[in-house]
């Protein structure tokens, strides 16, 4: 298992190199840079100032030179400072990360709490009203744009009913929880939809299995059959789908964060792109990539706990031999 984890961590290196280079190249071809942003915002610069400022940001050097400087700093654990504000990218990221993590976890909890029972009910009642209703729900959940759902939620719960705040993360714990509800539901909806569909199809496959028929024939209560035998074997694809959705929430929650004025990393990355703040864009994307890979690794490790067959693959050959000898 440790070897597996180490291997995954080592894999991060080429991933980070590839991701950072692609992002660097994309920023390079995007018209405008940090100096253009300063000018666009009314910066009163002389032509000499512009030359100095461009030199200060190495914009008078080639892309490869700048990429090399960035990577050499990165190797030393230095993500640099924002081109615009001069504030440490790491500090800003860490200030924003808890907001995104809380939102993503909340969405995951909501998603799993609704999706798994819904998927099971739909599978057990395949072709019936409950299944059709679940299908409609999941289709709507997956096809409705997140920003639109967000606005409808705000209009209804904050505007009409005035039960919850319209936007922004509250300051006291109670206010924070209240302000978390709508963005978490909004983020959780698409996660619910995809996970429910995955649960339904996994369960449908498992429910047809011979061992379930045998268990039922032997008089095992239906609840136990579903909970222990069926769901136990259907977890892998469900966790895969939920893990992928969670990663997508971490990396792409910019829309939800914008609609709800939630100060997370998605908004941080988007604002940095609009500001042409290349150092912040790169830092945010690299750290998000690390998070993404770590979450995927946790999902892989979870497989081992759920499925003994997978766990056995992680056990070293020596240990396996020892077991055989014993």
């Amino acid at each position: 298992m440790i070897r597996f984890i180490l291997k995954r961590i080592l894999l991060l290196i080429p991933v980070i190199i590839a991701v950072s280079f692609i992002v660097f190249a994309l920023l390079e071809v995007t018209p405008g840079d940090i100096v253009d942003r300063i000018i666009a915002q009314g910066g009163e610069l002389t032509p000499e100032d512009i030359v100095r400022l461009r030199a200060e940001h190495n914009l008078d050097r080639s892309m490869f030179f700048r990429y090399g400087v960035y990577m050499s700093n990165l190797v030393r654990g230095d993500l640099g400072v924002s081109d615009l504000t001069g504030v440490s990218v790491w500090n800003t990221f860490m200030q924003r990360l808890p907001y995104t993590l809380v939102l993503s976890f909340s969405a995951l909890i909501i998603g799993m709490a609704v999706a798994v029972p819904m998927g099971i009910i739909a599978a057990r009642n395949a072709g019936k009203l409950a299944d059709n209703a679940a299908t409609v729900f999941t289709l709507v959940g997956m096809s409705m744009p997140v920003f639109w759902v967000g606005l409808l939620l705000i209009m209804f719960f904050a505007g009409r009913l005035q039960w919850l705040p319209a936007a922004t993360a509250g300051e006291t714990p109670l206010e924070f929880l209240q302000s978390l509800i709508l963005p978490a539901i909004c983020s959780g909806l698409s996660l619910t939809a995809s996970t429910a569909r995955q649960t339904r199809s996994s369960m449908l496959e498992v429910l047809k299995a011979d061992y379930l028929r045998t268990a039922s024939a032997k008089g095992v209560p239906q609840q136990t059959v579903i909970r222990k035998h069926a769901l136990g074997n259907a977890w892998i694809p469900i966790i895969t789908a939920a893990g992928a959705s969670f990663c997508a929430q971490l990396a792409g929650s910019v829309v939800v964060e914008s609609v709800f004025a939630w100060p997370g990393i998605g908004r941080m990355a988007a604002e940095a792109v609009f500001s042409r703040d290349a150092t912040t864009v790169l830092g945010t994307i690299i750290l998000t990539t690390v998070l993404y890979v770590l979450v995927q690794m946790i999902v892989d490790v979870l497989y081992a706990f759920i499925d003994p067959r997978i766990k056995s693959q992680y056990v070293s050959t020596k240990k396996q031999r020892r077991r055989v000898t014993a």
């Binding site: 009314g42 009163e44 289709l139 709507v140 920003f147 606005l151």
Partner: protein, 550 residues
């Protein structure tokens, strides 16, 4: 299976229709006597800009404070110009809304108030004989938020710090003419400029020119910049999210009536509207134009309008073979129907009533109102086009923000009438700067030009290499006049120079005005004590309050 799909499709259709109905529904009944919401809009009062283009809501009288139930915290929503940093010597602080916070936390030597001129702040007076050597007499007994006394040393340190560490910031630009700053005593200061500069005092009234505390910054290089002598101190600041300010009870001037002011960045326009409707905020900037009618019709709100000082117009790259051709530019300007462009771009939130053809800030000093506006005359336009180098090629028009994207579409259609093919290149403001300032690979641009109330600020638009000069305009006489005007103390002589500059610029038609942008800002009834200026950077909320019983 087919039946099931039909049921799903029907259910989806019903949900979508219900969603649309819910989204479009409006509980607010139209005022009595009208069924037409636009008619209702016309009937309601909105607070129009004064002659200077701004709006002033009076401060609360000292006598009235006792009997008024005031909001403890006033919440202001800021739009796209979010607050990223509170260090005025950082380019990130050039954003409009950052300037609002800077005005509240850092005092400058003087304030500039439209109609009142320069008002003493940390400096009580200045003396100069030649606009190059200045003696400032500073206010005594002022303390910074951390309790340190304010002295002339702080001014000198602020100037040096801005010059040495503020590259790209407006503060550095404002203090750049200073070649020497010397402390004569704790409250007297001598400043010498690199030459005569009659605009210097105006420059140092701008929000980023606030005086900082050297000791506070030495103690904490990040939050030390938040320490000023201003009417408010920073209680909490989260970059790109919000700034919470607490009133300074030791303020040397009028102590604010409101305990806390929160300026929060809300990126989504629709969310801003809902926050205002639910009472989560008291004043909102960047309200969607389409929601204005609802706010106008709602008696709980008022609309505060300001006319932007900045000319919103079309600019031609003079270095391009086609747009550099005088006859081509003439053909274009005589084809434009400005009223249609104004209305199509921003509806009621644009003022298409241009009375003259000067490309100058609407409230900027020495505006030349005798320059004729090029009239729409298609026959004349065709005649000019015949004489131009234009041969039916596609001409690029660069645009960056929504209002101008709409303008560009209308311009494209209008120019088609005389046979000019326009290609619209959409980008964002940094992208536009890249292609249209020193990139120079553009042909035409629709954008605004930042010009503040001081005529000297027009330099950036008309001198070679100026950051607002998207026309690559380069006229030696104009450059000479602008330089000379900066060095001329005599007001009549300066006026004559600026008038001539505008005449020359108008003759070239490198720039042409399209309309004046009107900003509608939504406020709850009972809000007062604010000053909204045509130059949005100079908005002042130091005396803001909300009367909860209004």
């Amino acid at each position: 299976m087919k039946k099931r799909m039909r049921i799903i499709a029907l259910a989806l259709a019903i949900i979508m229709v219900m969603g649309l109905i819910a989204a479009c529904a409006n509980d607010d009944p139209a005022p009595a006597g009208t069924d037409d919401p636009t008619e209702a809009t016309q009937q309601d009062d909105i607070i129009r800009p004064d002659d200077d283009g701004g709006v002033v809501l009076d401060e609360l009288d000292e006598d009235a404070i006792e009997g008024t139930r005031l909001a403890e915290e006033v919440h202001i929503i800021v739009d796209n110009n979010n607050i990223v940093v509170l260090n005025p010597h950082n380019p990130g602080a050039n954003a409009t809304s950052t300037n609002w916070v800077l005005t509240m936390i850092h005092d400058r030597l003087f304030d500039q108030i439209p109609g009142e001129g320069f008002v003493p702040s940390l400096a009580l007076s200045y003396e100069t004989e030649d606009y190059q050597h200045f003696i400032f007499n500073l206010r005594q007994g002022v303390t910074f938020h951390n309790g340190d006394p304010f002295t002339a040393e702080d001014v000198v340190w602020t100037i040096r710090h801005a010059q040495e560490h503020g590259l790209g910031s407006n503060a550095a630009g404002n203090w750049s003419p200073v070649v020497s700053a010397e402390v004569l005593d704790d409250y007297t200061l001598e400043i010498v400029l690199d030459g005569i500069d009659v605009d210097f005092i105006f420059a140092i009234t701008r929000p980023p020119s606030g005086i900082l505390s050297q000791r506070a910054i030495a103690e904490d290089p990040e939050t030390g910049f938040w320490i000023g002598t201003g009417a408010f101190s920073v209680e909490e600041f989260v970059s790109n999210d919000f700034a919470l300010l607490r009133r300074n009870m030791n303020y040397w001037g009028t102590i604010p009536v409101t305990e806390l002011v929160r300026l929060r960045f809300v990126p989504d326009m629709a969310t801003r509207t809902i926050m205002m409707n639910t009472g989560a905020a008291h004043l909102s900037f960047g309200t969607p134009t389409e929601d204005m009618a609802d706010f106008q019709a709602n008696p709980d709100f008022m609309i505060l309008t300001t006319t932007s000082n900045d000319p919103q117009g079309l600019q031609f790259n003079l270095n391009d073979p086609i747009t550099g051709c005088y006859y081509f530019r003439r053909a274009v300007v005589h084809t434009l129907n400005r009223e249609a462009i104004a209305f199509g771009s921003a509806g009621d939130w644009a003022d298409g009533n241009l009375t003259d053809g000067a490309y100058w800030g609407i409230g900027t000093e020495f505006r030349n109102r005798d320059i004729p506006l090029p009239e729409r005359n298609l026959d004349l336009a065709r005649e000019y086009l015949e004489r131009s180098v234009y041969n039916g090629e596609e001409v690029g028009l660069v645009v960056a923000i929504a209002t101008f994207i709409r303008s560009a579409g209308i311009i494209q259609m209008q120019l088609e009438e005389i046979g000019i093919n326009v290609r619209i290149d959409e980008t964002d403001p940094p992208g536009l700067s890249a292609s249209a300032v020193y990139g120079g690979d553009h042909q035409m641009v629709v954008f605004f030009t930042l010009i503040n109330p001081s005529a000297g600020s027009a330099r950036q638009a008309f001198i070679p290499g100026g950051t607002q000069n998207r026309a690559t305009f380069n006229n030696p006489r104009v450059t000479e006049l602008l330089d000379e005007a900066r060095r001329t103390g005599d007001v009549a002589a300066r006026e004559a120079m600026y008038m001539e500059v505008q005449e020359i610029v108008a003759e070239y038609q490198a720039f042409t005005n399209l309309f004046w942008r009107v900003f509608g800002n939504v406020a709850v009834n009972g809000l007062g004590g604010i000053r909204l200026n045509p130059d949005p950077s100079a908005h002042d909320f130091r005396n803001i309050y909300v009367d909860l019983d209004a």
